[in-house]
Symmetry: C2
Subunit: 712 residues, 2 copies
Amino acid sequence: MKHFERLFNPRSIAVVGVSEDAVRPGSQTVHTLLRNGYAGRIYPVNPKYPQFEGMKCYPSVEAIEGEVDVVVIGVPARGVVAVIEQAAAKRVPFAVVLSGGFRESGPEGITRQARMLAVAREAGMRIVGPNCLGLANIHDGVYAAFGSITRPPQLRKGAVSLVTQSGGFGYSIALACAAAGIGFRNVIATGNEADIDTVEFLDALLDDDQTRIIVAYIEGLANGRALLEVGRRALAAGKPLLVWKGGVTEQGAHAAASHTANLTGSYDFYQAAFRQAGIVEIREIHEAVDYIKAFESRRFPAGRKVAVMGGSGGSAIVFADAGEHAGLMLAGFTDETKRKLARVVPDIGAVHNPVDFTAGYIAGGNAENFGTAVQAVLDDENVDAVCLNFATTAGPACHAGAEVLARIAPTGGKPIVVFLSTPPSECGDALPVFEAAGIPVFPSPVRAAKALAVLADYAQAQARAGRELTSAFSVDEDIGQGLRPALLRNAVGALSEADSKGILEGMGIAVTRDVLVRCIDDVPFDTMTPPFAVKVVSADIAHKTEIGGVKLNVRTRDELAAAIDEVLVNARSLAPQARVDGVIVSEMLSGGFELIAGVVNDVVFGPVVVVGAGGIHAEILADTACRLAPFDEATARDMIDELRCRPILDGVRGSAALDVGAIVRTLVTLSQFAWHNRHRVAELDINPLFALPGGAVAADALIVMRSRSDAV
Amino acid sequence: MKHFERLFNPRSIAVVGVSEDAVRPGSQTVHTLLRNGYAGRIYPVNPKYPQFEGMKCYPSVEAIEGEVDVVVIGVPARGVVAVIEQAAAKRVPFAVVLSGGFRESGPEGITRQARMLAVAREAGMRIVGPNCLGLANIHDGVYAAFGSITRPPQLRKGAVSLVTQSGGFGYSIALACAAAGIGFRNVIATGNEADIDTVEFLDALLDDDQTRIIVAYIEGLANGRALLEVGRRALAAGKPLLVWKGGVTEQGAHAAASHTANLTGSYDFYQAAFRQAGIVEIREIHEAVDYIKAFESRRFPAGRKVAVMGGSGGSAIVFADAGEHAGLMLAGFTDETKRKLARVVPDIGAVHNPVDFTAGYIAGGNAENFGTAVQAVLDDENVDAVCLNFATTAGPACHAGAEVLARIAPTGGKPIVVFLSTPPSECGDALPVFEAAGIPVFPSPVRAAKALAVLADYAQAQARAGRELTSAFSVDEDIGQGLRPALLRNAVGALSEADSKGILEGMGIAVTRDVLVRCIDDVPFDTMTPPFAVKVVSADIAHKTEIGGVKLNVRTRDELAAAIDEVLVNARSLAPQARVDGVIVSEMLSGGFELIAGVVNDVVFGPVVVVGAGGIHAEILADTACRLAPFDEATARDMIDELRCRPILDGVRGSAALDVGAIVRTLVTLSQFAWHNRHRVAELDINPLFALPGGAVAADALIVMRSRSDAV
C-alpha cells in the first residue's frame, strides 16, 4: 500500500465539479465525505460558487492554497484534461476521474484519454479511471466516488476489499456481502484503467494490513501473467483472492480441433492461472458471500473428510450429495468416537456419519450432551471439518446450540460450519453468537458443503504454493542445451515437420522413427516396420492433410512408392507455391492412446501448455487441461489428472497401463521450452502425442515462430 | 382432491396426546389450530384432563360425541395402534400419525407399523405418516402438524403446495420461499409413508384448484412409473411440478461399464422421468424460490431468444454468460428495433443486444424513454423474453422504473424479469410494484438467466406433452408380431447370443452376419468377408470375454480354425459346467461408431431404455441417456442429442454421417419391446450397436429373463 498510501488515506481531497444539483458526481462525493466524517481537508472546486456546503469553494485546483493528495474529477469529459493539467502543475499525486466520455465512447474519447494520460505521466501523477465509480476507504470515511458506492446502505468496516472492472455489477457483490453482515476495507471501481489497473490495485491491497480478503470482478486484463504473480503473492500472504471472470462464453469457435490453440480459449487460461495461484473462482454473488464468511472464520481443514451432524436426515443427505460433488468425503469415525456418541445420542438416532441425533436434540436442556457429541466428532482424527445441520431449529433451542458451538469452536483448529434455515427473527439471537465465534452460517446444506470444499481447496493450494514457486522460477538459470536449439535461431514462420521434430528430439522428447526421402529408393525399407505414415515436408504447408499431403497405414513397398508419388503430386497441384523438402516416411505407432499436446503463446497470458485427448476425442470431449509455463512435474501431473480420459492411461479392459511419467516429463519440458523461447515461438503442436506403455512419442509436430513485428 | 377433501378441509379434528407440556406434539397442534382460527371443531383427547385450553377434553376418541374427520396422533409409538383401533371403530376417515418409533426404528417398529396399517386398511381409514411433521392447509388454518410447520413465521396464503419426505429439510425450502414473499396452499410432510405416499399426495394436489405450483422433496419412491404419470398430468394441467431428489450420489459402483445396467443408476432414471414429464428439477433452495417466482408470473417465452437491457455492462455480461450456459441465446434485433432504440438511448449507449442505456437511465424524469426502449425490445419478433438489469438502481429511480415495467408487462405475453441488487430498504417501494405486476425480481443476473431458461424449458415440455402422451400409450394396442417372439415364451435366465440376436432380428433390428458352427468345416468361408469375430455360444456364459470366449480380427482360414478351437477350449476349461451350443463366427463391422444400447427393467421405474457411447468411451465418458419405455421417435432423438458423442454421428474429419434415423428406430423398437415384455425381460444389452452410414447393426446381444419369483 506504500505507493498508494496518499490515494487511500489522503490528507486532503479536491473535488472538481461540485454543483447545487445534488445528483452531479462531484456533489455526491462531497456529501458522502461529509456524511462519513472524513477527517482530512475537502476542497470543493467550481468557479460558479464562493462556498459549497459551508466550505470555501475554489474557482480552480490551482487556486487551492494547501497541498492536495487526491483530486476527484466529475466535470464533463471535454473539461477533464484542463483539470489534470492544473493538478499536474500543483504536483497532485492522484486523480480519480469519474467522468465518462473517454476510450469507451469512440475516436474522440480515445484521443482524450491518451492526452490525459500523457499529461499525468509527465507529472508523475497516477490516475484512477476514467469512466469509473471511484474508490472508497471504508475504515476512514474516504470516498473519492459517486453513484452506488456513496448511497445507503453504508458499508460496515471490515477486512474485505473489492476491486471491480464493472462498478454496477461489482457493487452488487458488495451489497450482497453487506446484507450478510460482511464488512469492507476498500472498494475500488477501476473503470477504463487508463493508468492503474486491477492487478496493480490487487498488489497494493496485499500490502494493506487491514485487508485480509480480496474480491475482484474482472472482464479482461492486459497482462494475465501479472494476475498469476499477484495471485501467488496473495496465496503466500494468506490473503484469499476471490475472482469472478465475466465474459467467459465468448470464446470464439472451438470448431476445428486440430491445433491446441483451437482447443482452448482465453477463459481456460484464466482458469489455469486461478489454479496455479490458488485464486478462488466465483460464479455467483452468493458464492462471494459464502466463501468470505468461510474465510473469515480463519479455520482450515487439513483434508477433505467431513462429518455432518443434525436432527434432519434430509439435510444430511443433501449435504452429502453436494459434498461429494465438491470433492468432499464423509469421514469414517473411529470406534472410540462411535462409543462416545452412543452415550449421548438417543437410541433411535445414528452414531455413524452422518450423525442423526434426532429432531429436538439441540435444546437448552440438552446442551451438555450436544456439546459432548460435537466434541467427540471434532476429536476424531479422521474428521477434518464438521457441518452442523441446525435446519429449522429455532428460538431458545437455536441460541443454546449456538452457545455450545461457540464454546467448542475456538478450542480446536477444525472448521465448524452451520446450516440454518430459520429466519433471523426466529433464531433467538443465535446469529450474533455464531458471528462472534467465527462460525459461518449458511442458508442451505449445499452452500455449507461448497464453502467447506473451498476452504479445503485453499488449504491444499497453500500447502503446494512454496513448491511451485521454487521450481517455476528456477528455469531461467538452469537451462539445458536442448531448450536453445540452433534451428530456432533464424527460423521464420512455420517450421517443417522434420525441423519441428528435430527440435523436440533435441530437448529430449521422443519422436517417431522417420526418414526424409525424395523417392521410394531413398527408403531403407528392410530396416523399417510397417505400417507407415507418408507426409509431405514443407515449411510452407502447415496443414498437410488439407492438401492431400498425408497417407496413412501404408504397408507394402508398392503402396509406399505410390503414396510418396501421390503426396508430392498433391502438394505440387494444390500448393504450387510451396517449397517442398521431400517426404517423411514414419513408422506408425499402434496401441497406446492419442493425446494432443502443445504450447499457445497467448497475448495476455504468454506461453501456456495444453494437453488433451487427441484424435476423434478432441472433437467430442473438448477434454483439455492447460497451465501457464513454466511449471513442475506435480503441476503436469495435475493437468493429466484433470483430463476426463485419465482412466484410459491407467489401462482399461485389461490393456497395459500407459507411461504417465513420460507424459509428465514431456509437458514439463514443453513448459520450459515455451518459457525460454517465449519471445520467439508463437505456437507448438504435437498432434498426436502417443501415450504408450513405455514412453510418450510425438508422431507429428509443428512449431510456428512469432512474426518479427510481435516478437518482444 | 376429492378423496382427500376431508383430510385437507376437515370439519373436525381430534388431537390425541394433548398435554400441559406445550412442547408435546399434540399440544402444538391444538395451539396452532387455535392461533390460526381453524373454523372446525377441535376435540382434544387425554384421559388426564377434563378440559384443555378451555375446550372439553375427551378421555378417548371413542368418547367424542360428534363426527371426526381427522385424528391427529401424538402419543408415544406403543399407544398408537390402540388409538387407530378406536378411530377405526368410529369410522374416522383419516389419521395423521406424528409419532416416531415405527419402520425407521428397527424390528419392533416395523411390526407396529404393519399392525397399524392392517387395522386402518380393514376400516378404510387412510394414514399420513407415521414419524412425520404432519400437514397443513394454510388457506383455512388447518394444522394436523407439529414442529417447524407450526412455528412462526406464519406462512402467507398462496398458490404453492409442498410435499416433502423430510420434514426438517423440506420445511427449510418453505421458509426460504416465505422469506421471498411466496405464499402457500398446503404443506405436507409425509414421514414413513406407511399408507399415503408422495405420489398420491401430488395427485391430490393436481385436483386442488387453489394449488397452482407444487414443490416436492423426494428421497425415494416405491413406484417411479407413478411419478412419471403424475408429472405428465401436472404438465397437462399447467401446474409446474418442482422436484428435489435427495440422495443422488449413492449410486453404487459404476466401475464395470460392459452392461447398460452398470452405466446408469437410480438417479438417472429419476432424471429421465423428470424430462419425460416436464418436471423441473431443483438442486438448491434458492432454485425453488426463483423458479416459483418465475412460474407465478404466468408468462412463458415462446423460444429461447432473450434480450438484456440495463446501465450496467458487467451485469449484462454475467447474464449472457449464465444464459448461454442455460441454453438461452441473445436475440438479434431487427433494424426497426434498433432505430426505435436509437431515438431514446443516449449516443454513448448501445442499441444492439445487450442494450446498454448507460448508468442513471432508469429515473423518474426519463420514464417515457425507458418505457419506449423496453416496449421496442418486447415488440421485436426475435425476442422471446427480456431481462432488465436494474442492478444497484435505488430509491425513487428504482420505483419509477418499476412503474414503467408494471405498466408494460400486462400488455404482452412475453416474460419480463429483473435483476436488482439494491437492498429492499433502499428500493423506494419498487418491490410491491414489481410483485403486483407479476414481474419476478432476482438478486443476481445468473439467477435471472436460469429462471428464464426454466420457463423456456417448461414451455417446450408443454408443447410436446400431447404428442408423447398419445404415442406412448398407443403401444399396447398396436403391437407387432416381432415384439412377441416365440423364443421368449419359455426362456429362463440368460439367452445365448444367437437367441438374443434372433429376437432382435425378429423385431426388425439389424444384426451382424453370423454363422453358428461347431468347427472350421462348418464355416462358409468363401461367402463371408473377413475380419471375423469368433465367440463361444452358451446360455450359461453371460460374460464371454472374461473366460477367453471371444477372438477378434480373425482374417485367414487358419487363424479362424485356431480361434474356434481356442474359444471352445477356453470355455471348457474356464466354464466347465456351461452347456456350449457352438461358436458364432461374425463378420466384423468397421467404420462407424460403437454405441451401447439396452434395456434395464428397474424395480422402481420398470423398463428403461439406455443408449450410450460404446467401446472404450463407455469407460471414459459415462456418456449415456435413458428414458422410461415406451416412447416415440422424437424422444429417442432427444436421447441421442443428449449424448456428448453426438457430433461424431454427424461425421467428423470428413467421414460420412452415420444413420441417426436407424438408431432412433432401434431405440423406439427396444422401448416397445421392453414395455410389452416388462413382466418377463430383466435386461437386454446390445454391445456394441454399430452406428454406420447406412444403418445401425447389433454386433453382440444378450437378453436376460426375470426370474419367476420376481415376474409380475
